[in-house]
Amino acid sequence: MSIRLSSLAAVASLIAAALTPASAQTLRYANQGDLKSLDPYTLRESTTIAHHGQVYEGLVARDKNLQTVPGLAESWETPEPTRWRFHLRKNVKFQNGDPFTADDVVFSADRVRAKGSDFATMVANDTKVIKIDDYTVDFVLTAPNPILISQWDVWYIMDKKWAEENNAVAPTPAAATTPSFASLHANGTGAFSIESHQPGVKTVFKVNPNWWRKPEHNLKEIIFTPIASDATRVAALLSGEIDIMEPVPIQDISRVNSSPNATVMSGPELRTIFLGMDQTRDELLNSNIKGKNPFKDIRVREAFYKAIDIELIKTRVMRGLSTPSALMIAPQLFKLSGDFTRPKYDPDGAKKLLTEAGYPDGFELSMDCPNDRYVNDAAICQAVVGMLARIGVKVNLIAQPKALYFAKIFKSGGYNTPFYLLGWTPSTADSHNVLYDIMGCRDNPNSSRGLTNIGGYCNKEFDALADKVLQETDNTKRDLLIKAAFEISNKDFAYIPLHQQALAWGVSKKLKVAQRADNQVLPYWFVKQD
């Protein structure tokens, strides 16, 4: 029996070998940012998440068009609005050989919301996770949540047994004092396993021959090197030493395209870049207007909006690589975004609005801006300064590195800015995140609503709609509610959305890739020719 089995296995492996493409390839990949910790619950940042996604998998996954598809869960249903039942995939094994079962899901649910996890919002603290049998898990919520699984493609499932054996039950906290096992090793169910990992230097991924999915890639290993210097990264791509890199600096795009080895793949990214205005303080910070806050006047906000020539920013600052936006969310993430248009660029109208509001000669204020966070962030701010000067508003620009910038404008810095530029990608890939985090009232100190609403826009009618959006389970009705909410905030000129910046990957001509708008570089879809 055992002999027959092993010979069967041998035949099977021969067939498998014959079926794999003639030569499995090595993918050499460079990114501006590095991969620090391998613990999938330590840092919620898109480059890191994409790396982890090579090794780990979630209950659900997202396909090339960002649609939610089954992952480690074969299917799911909601027998009642507050109970989600997941049927797990059978015969899935972790890379160390451990079988994947409901215990791992329950364990991962506890680990992901434990102290020190940067992904704690994935599973709410009051959610009960119940193992029904080895391949069925129930999530019992305290209130209905139709978008429960919207972020779960990046909630990666870990192996309970492996974590317990290696003293990695607790997530590696941001302030760990000893390197935890899980931050230097990985054991997932995904397409690749970690061969070696030297943070900030090099990470080698090996193909997982026992992956449950049929691979669409033809890779045998991935060698990842972070290359922070733009010029070096471009040179390495042009000389053929790497197959793919991200991002291509805007000024180098035409040179990469004219080279024989590589091209630039660009597309709109999901991040929306916008300007925010302080609408809460009674006196505007760093301004010559004393005793009142011009931004409390809707006409001033409208004037600022209309003074900005978004097409000029697109052609001059972004060199064509941006998509002007009328909404605070990218069109890929909201079906009805086509119903909205930006108010026309109208400096004369803006000037008139300012005069009506009582500022015929404009006024003076400061503006905060990062200079190392988004594509050409400081240059966008400089352009804005010039455009506002045309309607008589004198802006003193403070552009600084993100470390200082975020410390100043976020809650920890007391929202210390009158006028600022920020970029936001909803981590849930859903509008509610924008309505709640960026645009919700922040008047209740015990609620996390409006945590990143730095300008402090507040409209109770809007908040009521946002709450309905969270509860509504019918997608069509839900989209209409979202639309109604955005109509209110646009009418209020709550924010000045600018554009979605473009993502730019430098790709060798030997490589066929699938580019996803959330800018995750996912080699399990890459095919490389000899």
Binding site: T232, A235, S427
Partner: protein, 326 residues
């Protein structure tokens, strides 16, 4: 003699203390590290917890004292970005930097001395004039520009040398070396030239000036008059006396080669301490920045101390003056 060494050693300790104070004070203004460690939508409570666990809420003097006591035992804390002890990271990265710095220095010394001698002896030859002009470029061009020019020429256009990284390395315990593999040696060429070019031109000009000076002295004239061969005069007598100041300068420069490797390492993505430092600055990784500054200043101070001591050993005149002054 002993008193002199003791005094120098005490001065060195003073310098290290000063560097410690400066680095600590500087990092108070580098920004909030917590924002770099978490996602944008991490809750305020979580942020506060992290801040507290890092000890960032303690009074400044307490933070300073803790920092100093730990640093004296080479305990630099845990890197905010990598969640690993800084001393471990430095140990991992140090071989790359030391190997690069050594190669660059050897290159600079070898070529610098040879070319210096040549241009001193053949003052009016065409090659000398070219060398002088080129050395001016070497001194005035910034390192990163030289690095990028080399990359474009030898990696992108000619495709001979790798544009980044260390190639394959061989490990001996905790030490890793790229000197034993072909790809490692190839990867070492351009960074070494980039890093060593400034030193090379400096040494070349120094050797030339010293050599010209020495050739003008009386004993060379007497040696000529005595009928010694030119070869013996130039290389036996003149060169030997030229080299004393050159060795001093080169020794002192080794410290700055290590320190300035930051730029070269960034351009070539060389996984050494300098690159670690730059990444740390971008991420407000205070423990790494502090440790790096201290380690580099320790290297500087040690080299200076050794050079000072060697000086008194080599040059009896200095010993005499020191004796009198004391």
């Amino acid at each position: 003699m002993l008193a002199f060494i003791l005094r120098r050693a005490l001065q060195s300790v003073g310098v290290m203390l000063a560097v410690g104070v400066i680095s600590f004070a500087m990092f108070r203004f580098a920004g909030d590290p917590v924002n770099q460690m978490v996602a944008l939508d991490t809750s305020e409570a979580q942020r506060a917890e992290i801040r507290a666990s890092l000890g960032l809420n303690d009074p400044v003097p307490l933070q300073f004292a803790r920092y100093f006591i730990d640093a004296a035992q080479f305990k630099f804390g845990v890197s905010y970005q990598f969640r690993q002890p800084v001393s471990m990271l430095l140990k991992e990265r140090m071989p790359a930097t030391l190997e690069l710095a050594t190669c660059a220095t050897v290159l600079a010394m070898g070529f610098g001395i040879l070319l210096g001698i040549y241009s001193a002896l053949r003052r009016d030859s065409f090659l000398t004039k070219v060398l002088q002009a080129v050395s001016l470029i070497g001194i005035s061009l910034p390192t990163f520009l030289i690095g990028i020019l080399l990359i474009y020429l030898f990696s992108v256009i000619l495709g001979w040398l790798p544009s980044f990284g260390r190639g394959e390395v061989v490990k001996f315990g905790w030490w890793s070396t790229g000197l034993l593999t072909v790809s490692g040696l190839k990867a070492l060429i351009m960074p070494s030239i980039t890093l060593g070019l400034f030193q090379m031109t400096l040494i070349m000009r120094l050797v030339r000036a010293e050599m010209l000076e020495v050739l003008r002295t009386d004993y060379i004239r007497f040696a000529r008059a005595r009928g010694l061969t030119t070869r013996a005069i130039h290389f036996g007598h003149a060169l030997k006396n030229t080299l004393v100041p050159v060795i001093t300068v080169a020794g002192l420069q080794f410290g700055s080669v290590i320190a300035f490797a930051i730029i070269t390492e960034t351009v070539f993505q060389w996984p050494g301490m300098g690159l670690l430092f730059v990444q740390a600055v971008q991420n407000v990784d205070i423990p790494i920045m502090a440790a790096y500054l201290l380690v580099v200043s320790l290297i500087f101070v040690t080299i200076n101390l050794i050079v000072d001591i060697l000086y008194t050993v080599v040059d009896p005149r200095l010993r005499a003056t020191v004796g009198r002054a004391a």
